[in-house]
Symmetry: C2
């Protein structure tokens, strides 16, 4: 240790900030100057939490549900989550395998803490959700970023796992629908990856955080295909509860006790008022609101996708879920990071540069989020048109 | 990797469950059989969250404050926390150094993630809060447990730091008031430890989670003595918000940006409704309730401490804060773990065995929590008397 200079763990240097955060800061500065900015960079639904959940949260507070809850979660909520799989997917999930967490973030953290030793490898997609590789780094593992192309819908499959799985690999982490590409993994690929990973003595972790926000066929859950995969899910996206920080894991049975032990130590429990509120997420009234919102997202996608293609963005794979479009911007002849800055400064539209999602093709891609209303999306497209063609 | 058997990271084996949890399960089983159990094992205040905070939480939900908040926390809450140091302690804390977290657990986790590389040492007290060593293990550091005796009030001091600090040491973690002993660290010792740690290029981390729950002189905060120490605090104990999962860090200025980056990735943000609710914790109405509760805890301590001493427990250092009594039970001639089981089964009183807090003297100590009302405490003492003398 060097006296005098502040000591920082090596992982802090390796964990990158989100570039989109700096972009947001710049957007706010421009807005403070009176400029109008169309926000197509934000990974958060623009809907407030649905009324039935708000009411349930208020009642929980009224009733004094403010103490710690069991580390694995409120029994009633674990049961409701298991019931959700039965009703939505026709899949039987033992509620004892459900672990309620402080958001999808905590779900991923607990699963990786249970799996990753120093130097262990986790296979990830590039592009992918930026925090994934940082979580692996947090526990001194190596994130092995596998470039994924349009021909696999930007997803891993069993063949790619086989090609990249090494003696140090302990897990593969995939997402369906994926961020930033919005693509799904089909049931056959999910099953084959689960089987392959298990045969290697490793784990398949499936991020199903955007489940529900799917606009064509329903996304298959790996839980209907394998008992050996981990599922990460969240109340943030489809259920509209971002700021409450609530999610869940469905773990293979043998991992429940280790995860409980980690949760006891690392989090104690997820928020108790949030858990009581979330019970209302599985009522017909709430589901009706979620479905209306899903329709709104579909409408936005159906508008924005052809509009961006018309402007010259290359979006070869139609995104079937989440609320993102991952667009190749090569024909505009600029690095996407610089392009995102120019689009912000000159056109007044905020979008996320590819670099936030990895290295592969990063300089050639932008992510557009349709988390803002139709009017704003139309305005954004008009501004982009003027900027790109003007 | 061995195919066939489930893969578990080594840290999971090293992270012990709380024995008190098994005890709680047994207590509940006995209660289900109709037995009455006096609970003196629980580290959670028996008061529900105070009315003004409940109302503020309900209003926040009504007003739709359900989106993510900034990674460092709501600006208004950071300001309120800084103001709390000015009012309570006369200490000027720059609000930019305040980082709102998902409980004291997240506060500790973020600070250790920022400091601990593989193999780095963190000095801890033995006995101490059990999760501390597990958090160090989580990041592949070594928890160096230093036995602390009654003659230093079960606390570390600069002399002990000097004796145990090695080339691998990056931080010392102390708590004032401490769990399980309830003892404080004086201003001189805090200042000397902060100075010594900084001179070694390391960090002093002070867990001030039980601040406010102090029954004689006010506990000094290290923030009034050094700009180079980390403070961990929480809304759980004095502020009575356990289940909401909300806490904070006050960090040396140079660490704020690294901690922000970690928070963005690992937690995104603390709960937004909880942060809005917590704003009401700094109102005079709420503070009046906290002070009444503090008086109730004092009354309990003032009853339980002499009562346990009369029964033959040796409590050589008067605990000045938190809600625990750490009692030597050697004269009862049994390992404290077995004794705690017998006390539960035969006397119907749940207490925590020393083994949950470390190794040093663990078999000779029990922790009594006064988180239950006077009537229950009297009943517990009567049962203990009958059991020990009968």
């Amino acid at each position: 240790m060097n006296a005098g200079s502040p000591h920082l763990a090596a992982r802090v240097r390796d964990i990158a900030p989100f570039h989109v955060m700096d972009l947001l800061v710049r957007a706010k500065a421009l807005e403070a100057e009176g400029r109008s900015i169309v926000h197509m960079e934000i990974g958060e639904p623009d809907f407030a939490t649905a009324e039935p959940i708000i009411r349930a949260g208020q009642r929980a507070l009224e009733d004094g549900y403010t103490a710690y809850s069991p580390a694995l979660g409120l029994p009633a909520l674990r049961e409701a989550i298991a019931g959700h799989y039965a009703r939505r997917y026709g899949v039987d999930v033992d509620q004892r395998r459900v672990i309620v967490t402080s958001g999808g973030s905590a779900a991923l953290q607990l699963v990786l803490a249970a799996l990753v030793d120093v130097g262990d490898e986790v296979l990830l997609t590039d592009p992918g959700y930026p925090c994934n590789r940082h979580f692996v780094r947090l526990f001194e593992g190596h994130a092995r970023n596998i470039p994924v192309h349009r021909d696999t819908h930007y997803q891993l499959n069993a063949e790619l796992l086989r090609a990249h799985w090494s003696r140090s690999t302990v897990a593969a982490l995939v997402a369906s629908p994926a961020n930033p590409t919005g693509t799904l993994i089909g049931a056959d690929d999910l099953a084959a990856m689960a089987e392959f990973s298990a045969r290697q003595g490793g784990a398949l972790i499936v991020d199903e955080i955007y489940h529900g926000l799917v606009y064509e066929a329903q996304a298959p859950t790996v839980l209907g295909l394998s008992d050996e995969a981990f599922v990460l899910n969240s109340f943030s996206k489809y259920f509209g509860m971002t700021g409450w920080r609530l999610g869940w894991i469905v773990a293979p049975e043998v991992y429940v006790r280790p995860l409980e032990k980690l949760q006891q130590n690392v989090y104690i429990s997820a928020s108790t008022p949030a858990q009581h509120a979330a019970l209302a997420a599985f009522t017909p009234e709430a589901e009706e609101i979620f479905e209306q919102r899903r329709e709104a997202f579909r409408e936005r996608r159906d508008y924005l996708l052809p509009a961006l293609r018309d402007l010259g963005f290359d979006i070869p794979v139609t995104p079937q879920g989440a609320f993102y479009l991952y667009a190749n911007c090569e024909r505009f002849g600029q690095d996407s990071f610089e392009l995102s800055q120019r689009i912000m400064e000159e056109a007044g539209v905020a979008v996320t540069p590819g670099i936030d999602f990895g290295d592969f093709g990063a300089a050639q891609h932008l992510r557009f989020a349709y988390t803002t209303g139709m009017e704003q999306l139309r305005e954004g497209v008009a501004r982009l048109e003027k900027f790109l063609r003007g």
